[in-house]
């Protein structure tokens, strides 16, 4: 019998620490599928920083490096300069990339580092029990915005892709979501394009992925997918924001 769908080889067969309905598992699986399909397990180094993304190294069977909170762009730069022909990617959440690590991501983009950033935006701090993230929507409730994010005190959700796209060093920037099988396929294509960008030494690539956090959105899994389509994409429109091709 022919297998139509299998666990990717570079995806470790183990229970994950992710909550029910979380999107991280889908994204990590897509990365593993690409590593398998491209046959690049032996020349790929991934980065896992602080937050829900930290245990990514428990699930991907490749060389991986932890980074301090927000610092993957700097750590990845240090790795890529030693191994310029390897694939280096960082797997960052919204707090990591757009709050504490904003300076690092802007400057990595500005230097045009040949690194792919996979930016999982679920608009919340999941690991620390659901506080406001820099990408939390206006009016969205969180542990630190109990009556909803109020711009007059909390500011506005940050559109990372648009922000980075104005820098001359950034080459490929796309926002996708994993709210449906179709969108998941698009996400995979976007990540592949990111890898292609660094393979051809075209510079900095970032794929922002809108991803559900049902537990801290206080929704069920299906509702949270709808929330991505109906609410999140209004603030964070999907599509290619910058392309070198």
């Amino acid at each position: 019998m022919q297998a139509i769908c299998e666990k990717p080889e570079s995806f470790i067969d183990t229970p994950t620490h992710f909550c029910p309905g979380c999107g991280h598992g889908i994204v990590l699986r897509l990365i593993a599928e690409i590593i398998d399909a491209w046959g690049i397990r032996d020349k790929t180094i991934g980065l896992a920083p602080v937050g829900c993304s930290v245990l990514a190294y428990n699930y991907l069977d490749i060389d991986m490096c932890e980074a301090a909170h927000g610092r993957p762009p700097a750590v990845a730069t240090g790795i890529k300069r030693v191994h310029p022909d390897h694939f280096v990617f960082a797997y960052q959440g919204d707090g990591d990339l757009a709050a504490i690590g904003m300076a690092e991501i802007i400057h990595a983009a500005n230097r045009g580092e040949h690194i792919t950033f996979i930016f999982v935006n679920n608009a919340i701090y999941g690991m620390t029990n659901g506080q406001m993230a820099p990408t939390t929507l206006v009016g969205q409730k969180s542990a630190t915005t109990l009556s909803g994010r109020n711009p007059s005190n909390d500011g506005y959700p940050i559109r990372v892709c648009e922000l980075l796209s104005v820098l001359e060093g950034s080459s490929y920037i796309e926002r996708v979501s994993i709210s449906s099988p179709e969108n998941i396929r698009k996400t995979k294509k976007a990540i592949e394009k990111g890898f292609k960008t660094q393979k051809e030494k075209r510079g900095f690539s970032l794929i922002e992925i809108l991803s559900p956090c049902p537990i801290y959105w206080r929704m069920d899994a299906i509702e949270s997918m709808k929330y991505i389509d109906e609410k999140m994409t209004r603030t964070f429109p999907l599509g290619i924001i910058k392309d070198w091709e």
Binding site: K43, R71, A74, V82, H83, A103, E104
Partner: protein, 363 residues
């Protein structure tokens, strides 16, 4: 061949000699000669130079290159080193080798840009969070800066641990003849633990996160065992005129240079003065200081701080003899005459001063 270089430039060239090919820095006085030198020199040896967006980014780039197996360095001065402390804790926690140069300036806060030794506590007691140690080496001349930076890379690799070079504005900026006597290293062998891509082998992970209960305690015990090894093997100090000394001065770096002048002048006033100059501040030469404290009348610690190394000297001596202190802060540098005055002040209390002092005539 001898060259005339500043301490900062000597540190940079010594790093190149030692095979360092990844340098990340951020401008700050009084270490600017180092980052400037690296920006020219690194491309010449096909190395990487990045002027980072911040001290924090610089230390994390060091983290990345260390994890990938390169010999790597960053440098800064006191306020910048404070910013790097989180990164240094992660480097220690991930057992990554690297060299960090601190050309100390006055503090706290923005302080000033003149020489100081007020970062001793930060350097040897931790600085960042967690139970960790970095090896701390303190040069007192430009030649020694070159020698210690070179050795620092070997020590860092040997123990998979960060090594801190603790200089100050004077050591960094004064010019002296220096010779690079050791082998010019290139194409060093690959480190077996480094991240190189999982080619025909199991994957490797560089991390400092141990969330499963009990794992972190086991890891900490491993670190502490390593630190014990370092304490056993890597103590460095210089002893001057020590064996018949009534008063033993204890000083490092710039302060030790001035104390050497005191020792040279001491025959003029008939006190027998010796000097212990710790070169490794961690591991600290506690055992030697303890041994010497049993035969000296007293000790005098001289620092450009309000008295930081003093605590380690007292811990080593454990009351075997009085330990006095003379220090200047905020960019003040002690003169040899000030130190001699202090010696006169402390001598009678120990009834060691039997000779009449013609102190005023000491030049």
């Amino acid at each position: 061949m001898k060259q005339l270089l500043t301490g900062n430039e000597a540190a940079a060239e010594a790093a190149i000699y030692a095979g360092c090919r990844y340098y990340y820095g951020y401008p700050i006085t009084p270490q600017n000669e180092l980052i400037n030198y690296m920006s020219v020199r690194m491309p010449q040896v096909k190395g990487t130079f990045i002027q980072a967006e911040s001290e924090i980014a610089a230390i994390n780039m060091v983290y990345g290159s260390a994890a990938a197996g390169g010999r790597t360095m960053t440098s800064s001065s006191s306020p910048g080193i404070s910013l790097k402390q989180e990164g240094i804790s992660y480097l220690a926690g991930s057992e990554l080798p690297c060299v960090i140069v601190n050309i100390q300036r006055g503090g706290p806060g923005l302080g000033d840009i003149s020489a100081s030794q007020a970062d001793y506590f930060q350097s040897v007691k931790g600085g960042g969070h967690g139970d960790y140690r970095v090896i701390v080496l303190a040069p007192s001349s430009v030649q020694e800066m070159a020698d210690l930076v070179y050795d620092a890379f070997d020590l860092a690799d040997k123990y998979r641990n960060p090594v801190l070079i603790l200089g100050d504005a004077q050591i960094g900026q004064l010019m002296e003849p220096v010779e690079f006597k050791k082998e010019f290293r290139e194409n060093l062998p690959q480190k077996e633990w480094a991240l190189t891509g999982a080619k025909n082998r199991n994957r490797k992970i560089i991390k400092s996160f141990y969330p499963v209960k009990g794992e972190l305690e086991v890891f900490n015990a491993k670190l502490q065992n390593k630190y014990k090894e370092i304490e056993k093997n890597e103590v460095r100090y210089e002893a001057v005129n020590i064996h018949k000394a009534d008063v033993i001065l204890v000083a490092y770096g710039t302060s030790a240079r001035i104390c050497k002048e005191v020792v040279r002048k001491s025959h003029q006033f008939k006190f027998r003065i010796g000097l212990i100059r710790p070169i490794s501040l961690w591991p600290f030469p506690s055992e030697f200081i303890r041994e010497m404290s049993e035969r000296a009348r007293c000790m005098l610690t001289v620092e450009m701080s309000a008295g930081q190394m003093l605590e380690d000297v007292r811990l080593a001596v454990e009351g075997r003899c009085p330990v006095h202190f003379y220090g200047r802060t905020g960019g003040g540098v002690p003169t040899s005459l000030e130190i001699i005055k202090k010696i006169v002040e402390i001598m009678p209390k120990n009834r060691a001063a039997k000779t009449l002092l013609q102190f005023a005539e000491v030049k």
